[in-house]
Chain length 204, copies 2
DNA sequence: ACAATTGTTGTATGATCGTTCAATAACAAA
DNA sequence: TTTGTTATTGAACGATCATACAACAATTGT
């Protein structure tokens, strides 16, 4: 006698639902993020999702948590220039820098602007991200005894990365991954007066 | 005998519906963009909207058209530096750079990534916008006999503006309009090696 | 083998969605 | 005043939404 379904642990089923949710967001944006579609993607019946997540908003929160966890991970290297390089490469590598992923981000950003719980989580993550980038920039400026407005450059740097994602997502045929990465390096070089230009651009 | 409602011309009613739609997008994103809400905002009954717009998607298309029409308007000045300045000031002036407007943009961007008709209109508008910016940068570079990668700087410039909008929308307390404008000027100065720094920053 | 636990199913529910349409009434033209 | 045009209304429709819940069954512990 074959089992009609397979029981799984709460943790694993939640993981699968989070994955399915991200996939749905990537396919149809927030309009595609429905209970029916998510459950279908996860291969379960409609009733189960409310057993693992009290509400749909709670699932969305967990999805955002998952999508931003890499931002707050401890850096793998200590050198500030290579840290920045890691951030750039991570932002524009073939796995994460993908159309469906970008669509999912757009959908989430739209919700962050509207929903309170998402917003507070976002502000926390974004704050840590910005702090980390600012620290790198400050060290580099100090090491080369340059007079740069660290806060301004950090804001610009973050805006540049997000904006390039946006541009690529909405106008994909205008440039590629490599182009985006090069643009980031060009920005850093220009902002630091090319003092560490070779160091960064040649290391890739 | 008082009239129960006031008849208006098709053109004016469409205008009002477009405005109402933008307001709805600004309040609740794409989830707030419903027939009921839009009609309520416009002060008409639910049935009327399909008389003026065959479908909801058609209204959204018209809304996008309206929100981007300023991008393709003929520049009011000829000097490339002041043209760029106008773009920056227009992007970050008190009227357009507003939370609700930003939310509306986020919602629309999310749809652009998904829907075909919106996407093609967007690519057209974006193309003209980029062309115009590139032309300005090229002239400036030539006038100062500088060797800059115009395409790269144009991409970065557009990404910077969009990214700053995003940052402000999702993390508003971190900076203001003036800060955003200053960041744009700082970027241009850095990218052009400060050769026309005073010219631009002092003119505001 | 049996009982307890709990992950899972599928239906029911009430709300809201976009769209259609016949009836109505405001306004202009005659 | 009368007629014609058409903007406008409000109800009705089927589809889909998020959620609740009772019945069920897979697995674990005994």
């Amino acid at each position: 006698m074959k089992a009609r379904y397979q029981r799984k642990s709460q943790k694993q089923r939640q993981q699968e639902l989070i994955d399915a949710g991200i996939r749905c967001l990537g396919e149809g944006g927030m309009s595609g993020f429905t209970i029916d579609r998510i459950c279908q993607q996860a291969g379960i019946s409609r009733g189960l999702i409310n057993h693992h997540f009290k509400t749909k908003d709670e699932l969305l929160l967990r999805i955002y948590d998952r999508m931003t966890e890499h931002l707050v991970l401890a850096p793998t290297s200590i050198e500030p220039t290579t840290q920045l390089q890691e951030i750039i490469d991570a932002s524009f590598d073939d796995n994460t820098f993908e159309k469906s992923n970008l669509r999912a981000w757009l959908a989430i950003w739209g919700q962050v602007a509207t929903e309170q719980s998402l917003r507070s989580l976002h502000e926390q993550r974004y704050g840590e991200y910005k702090k980390r980038i600012s620290a790198c920039l400050r060290k580099i400026a100090k090491a080369n005894s340059l007079d740069v407005n660290v806060g301004s450059v950090a804001r610009q740097f973050i805006a540049l990365i997000d904006g390039l994602w946006l541009e690529y997502c909405l106008h994909s045929h205008s440039f590629s991954l490599k182009t985006a990465r090069r643009d980031c390096y060009a920005f850093l070089n220009a902002s630091f007066g090319e003092t560490w230009a070779e160091e960064v651009t040649s290391s890739k």
